[in-house]
């Protein structure tokens, strides 16, 4: 390698971070969300511990409302690379009838994501959870640490985060406290896509444009996988060439009109498109600064 490109620098930094977690934390786990960032995390974990296997399991918080293609991809790909997968679901809330339409997005996310995550981490006794969050995703994440400290209740206090200097990470914890670790902190959405292209990393087909049945309402395209999607009188699903820019629960992840059916075309689309990635996530728009509030409660 003659030049040390930004992608290789980011890769080396992320590998360094993963190795620090493995060396210093008691029971680390990798939070696997099935999305493109998780796919990149898995590749980095493979690289960090090569020729050995990566020394932590994967934890998927399944809300029960993920896209079918996501679950298929998850089961196929994790088996293929020989990872140990743990799936945790807040079944109690689902039985109580949690849906974003019946409960509202805030309460639904709180139960199926935030509470499920905290329970899943507790059940496994995990003291460090590696996640794929990036600082460029959302404004409140710009000040997030690489090693983000959570108190005994799993909560994040923006006033009480440890200073991070050089590459010297402080992983010391008291009983009950935990860390969230973000090896992709310094990556941008563009970096992630370029890395996927350079490394030929498998991703969920939902990222690629295809004709899919959608509820079209104004500018938004809403997937119709779940039976409880509330059609108004006269509305029917339409076949639309579209793709997902980020993956979440099908009722809360809007699709975008797109012709991009390969990674290079997605990169091309990204350059010409000026809308930020989380914008098609309904959950961030509840109120100004809402991601910050969710994080304080323990959401990733």
């Amino acid at each position: 390698m003659s030049t040390f490109s930004h992608l290789r620098q980011l890769e080396a930094e992320s590998i360094h971070i993963m190795r620090e977690v493995a060396a210093e934390c008691q029971r680390p786990v990798l939070l696997y969300s099935i999305g493109k960032d998780s796919s990149v995390l898995l590749r980095l974990a493979q690289k960090a511990f090569y020729p050995g296997p990566f020394p932590f399991p994967l934890l998927h918080i399944d809300t029960g409302y993920k896209f079918r293609e996501m679950i298929e991809f998850r089961d196929r790909y994790t088996a293929q690379i020989g990872a140990k997968l743990i799936v945790h679901t807040n079944t109690a809330a689902l039985e109580e009838g949690a849906t974003p339409f019946a409960w509202g997005t805030q309460r639904c996310c709180g139960a199926l994501k935030t509470q499920a995550l905290l329970d899943g981490l507790k059940a496994g006794g995990f003291d460090a959870a590696i996640g794929g969050a990036r600082r460029d995703e959302e404004r409140s994440r710009a000040k997030e640490r690489v090693f983000s400290f959570r108190d005994g209740r799993g909560q994040w206090d923006p006033r009480n985060q440890r200073p991070e200097l050089w590459k010297l990470f402080n992983t010391r914890l008291h009983a009950g406290e935990s860390l969230r670790v973000f090896p992709l902190s310094n990556w941008t959405e563009m970096d992630v896509w370029q890395y996927i292209e350079a490394e030929k990393i498998p991703i969920v087909p939902l990222y690629f444009a295809k004709e899919r049945p959608m509820l079209v309402r104004g500018d938004s395209l809403l997937p119709v996988e779940q039976p409880f999607v509330p059609f108004l009188p006269g509305e029917t699903p339409k076949l639309v060439k579209c793709r997902m820019r980020s993956l979440g629960c099908s009722p809360c992840t809007g699709a975008i009109h797109s012709e991009a059916d390969t990674v290079p075309k997605i990169i091309e689309e990204l350059i010409t498109m000026r809308r930020s990635e989380r914008q098609n996530r309904v959950i961030d728009h509840d109120q100004d600064g809402s991601m910050e509030l969710k994080k304080q409660e323990g959401y990733f």
Partner: protein
């Protein structure tokens, strides 16, 4: 930017992708207060490089309505958290990302108030360049000096002084020239560094991305042009090979490797290596990566090394070439930046994390603290939050390290409070020797084109500026002073006994010239700044006067009588 034009020719898209993937990376930090227009500058860099998405723009335009500003308030693009949006200040390091067709950038955006020294230090620790904002209307303030001092303390090789709000001083060249002259004079006392000065208006956009029609007198590159072309990342590869072992990789009985990130220089297969602190030696047999074995690995790369011999190596050990080993000692001298509300306690035992090692260390003594505004040394019994001081530390086990000026990774550490687990201090190792020596480091040339030797480089080589010291006929004092300065490592010469012209030539060359002189002429020190009468009657008293005149160059933290700040 030119990205859209590339896309107009789809055939060139593959090539475009390759170019995108080959871009290098510049990490820089920005220091300045709210009033300097720093947030506006960053907002503009993001906006003009199209790194701001429309919906983000919409949401800040929406938020701007409640505040007393017109049109788009660029600063809202960078103020992240609710609490600080409400207070209108930034209180922590925020990281921003943007890219141009030439380069990717990571900004560590830090607030500039005095109480936020720790944030500035944090932001600078991973940066290669600092942008210091100066308000054209206010000129060079203590705050700007503080920012420059911290950037240099943290070993940043590049400094950009952006003189902002030129629109509010009528784009007056004299205003800019005056600030540049004053700032250059201030920087002279530090190690060699060639700052880049640029007059800008972040609000209007002059010289930020493109040149300015309002300032035809400025011919230099715009701020962004400079950021896109300043050489980066070549510093580490030229230093000595350092490899802190992060983890022993042992998937089965046949494979034993040492995973880590190269912290300096480069390593090739077949290289002899020494393990520190044990001193055992072996050779590198393989450089293993997921993408196949490599012949060499360079600074910054994360790899796994295997060795020819089965030596006992664990996490925290350091691998180096046998002819370029680091220092090994349990006694350290360091500059500390205190980060925590609980102040430093002499005699207290802390956890010390250095590279991949974690161990116990005692804070033995505090030599002095540096007044961040006057840059003068003050006696200290403790260090409070945001205070910078020189200390002695003793580790329980020997540590293999370099000075921070030599290697930012093997020369840095953090202290962790054992009870609270808080990161309480950032440390930069200045050495372990008892006698201070001026740095004899040869300053690496930062561009491929040779440039003339500057006064600043000469100062770094000597460790001090030139001075002419005349002692009112006191012969004994003259030779005692010569001896003191000589032992300190200075270039010193006594009684040239020639004309004033020759004496002046000596000190312009960079020597300390000591002349016994005569009672009629009196006692004085002459430097480039002018003549000062000497009041002191002893050699060490005169040395102190020289320190006050900032003749000595070193940054801080050197022990004994060394150092000029």
């Amino acid at each position: 930017m030119t990205e859209t034009s590339v896309l107009d020719a789809p055939a060139a898209f593959d090539q475009f992708l390759q170019q995108e993937q080959a871009k290098d990376l510049l990490r820089f930090t920005t220091a300045g207060s709210v009033d300097d227009g720093k947030s506006t500058l960053i907002g503009r860099l993001l906006y003009d490089s199209r790194s701001v998405y429309e919906d983000q723009l919409e949401s800040v335009t929406k938020a701007s309505i409640g505040r007393n500003v017109g049109a788009i308030d660029f600063s809202l693009l960078t103020d992240g958290l609710r609490a600080e949006r409400e207070q209108g200040i930034t209180i922590d390091v925020a990281y921003r990302y943007f890219a141009t067709p030439k380069r990717k950038f990571i900004i560590a955006d830090t607030p500039g108030h005095e109480q936020y020294t720790r944030n500035m230090v944090t932001g600078a620790s991973t940066a290669e360049l600092a942008i210091i904002l100066v308000d054209a209307r206010k000129g060079l303030l203590a705050q700007s000096r503080r920012h420059a001092y911290i950037s240099l303390l943290l070993g940043l090789p590049n400094l950009v002084i952006a003189v902002n709000k030129m629109d509010l001083v009528g784009y007056d060249q004299q205003v800019f020239a005056h600030i540049e002259t004053e700032f250059r004079r201030f920087l002279l006392r530090f190690q060699a560094i060639e700052p880049h000065f640029v007059p800008i208006s972040a609000l209007v956009g002059d010289n930020v991305v493109t040149g300015s029609k309002n300032m035809p007198w400025f011919n230099g590159p715009s701020l962004l042009e400079y950021l896109e072309t300043v050489p980066v990342g070549d510093r580490g590869v030229r230093s000595a090979f350092r490899f802190p072992v992060q983890r022993v990789v042992r998937p089965d009985l046949d494979f034993r490797g040492y995973a880590g990130t190269v912290a300096g220089g480069l390593v090739r297969t077949g290289d002899a290596i020494t393990v520190l602190p044990s001193g055992r030696t072996s050779r590198v047999s393989r450089i293993v990566t997921f993408d196949g074995d490599r012949e060499e690995a360079r600074t910054g790369e994360s790899v796994t090394l295997t060795l020819e011999d089965d030596v006992d190596i664990g996490r925290g050990d350091l691998l180096a070439h046998p002819d370029e080993v680091p220092e090994v000692s349990s006694k350290l001298e360091a500059t500390l930046v205190w980060l925590n509300e609980a102040p430093a306690e002499i005699g207290k035992r802390y956890r010390l994390k250095h590279a991949a090692s974690l161990q116990w260390a005692d804070l033995k003594s505090i030599e002095y603290r540096t007044n961040i505004n006057t840059l003068e040394r003050e006696p200290a019994n403790t260090l409070e939050m945001n205070v910078i001081g020189a200390v002695r530390i003793e580790t329980v086990r020997p540590l293999a390290f370099d000075s921070y000026q030599t290697n930012r990774i093997t020369g840095s550490f953090i202290l962790i409070d054992a009870a609270t687990n808080a990161t309480v201090a950032a440390g930069m190792i200045t050495g372990h020797a008892a006698i201070a020596r001026p740095s004899r480091r040869v300053v690496p040339q930062r561009s491929t084109e040779p440039v003339p030797v500057t006064e600043a480089e000469r100062r770094t080589r000597q460790g001090h500026a030139g001075a002419w010291i005349e002692l009112g006929g006191r012969e004994e004092l003259a030779w005692r002073l010569e001896r003191l300065l000589f032992d300190r490592g200075c270039t010193v010469y006594r009684n040239p006994g020639h004309s004033e012209e020759i004496t002046r030539a000596f000190y312009r060359f960079g020597a300390l010239v000591v002349v016994a002189g005569s009672a009629e002429r009196g006692s004085f020190i002459e430097t480039a700044e002018g003549r000062t009468r000497i009041e002191a009657n002893s050699a060490s008293g005169i040395e102190h006067e020289l320190e006050k005149l900032q003749v000595f160059t070193q940054m801080s933290g050197w022990s004994g009588s060394g150092g000029g700040i």
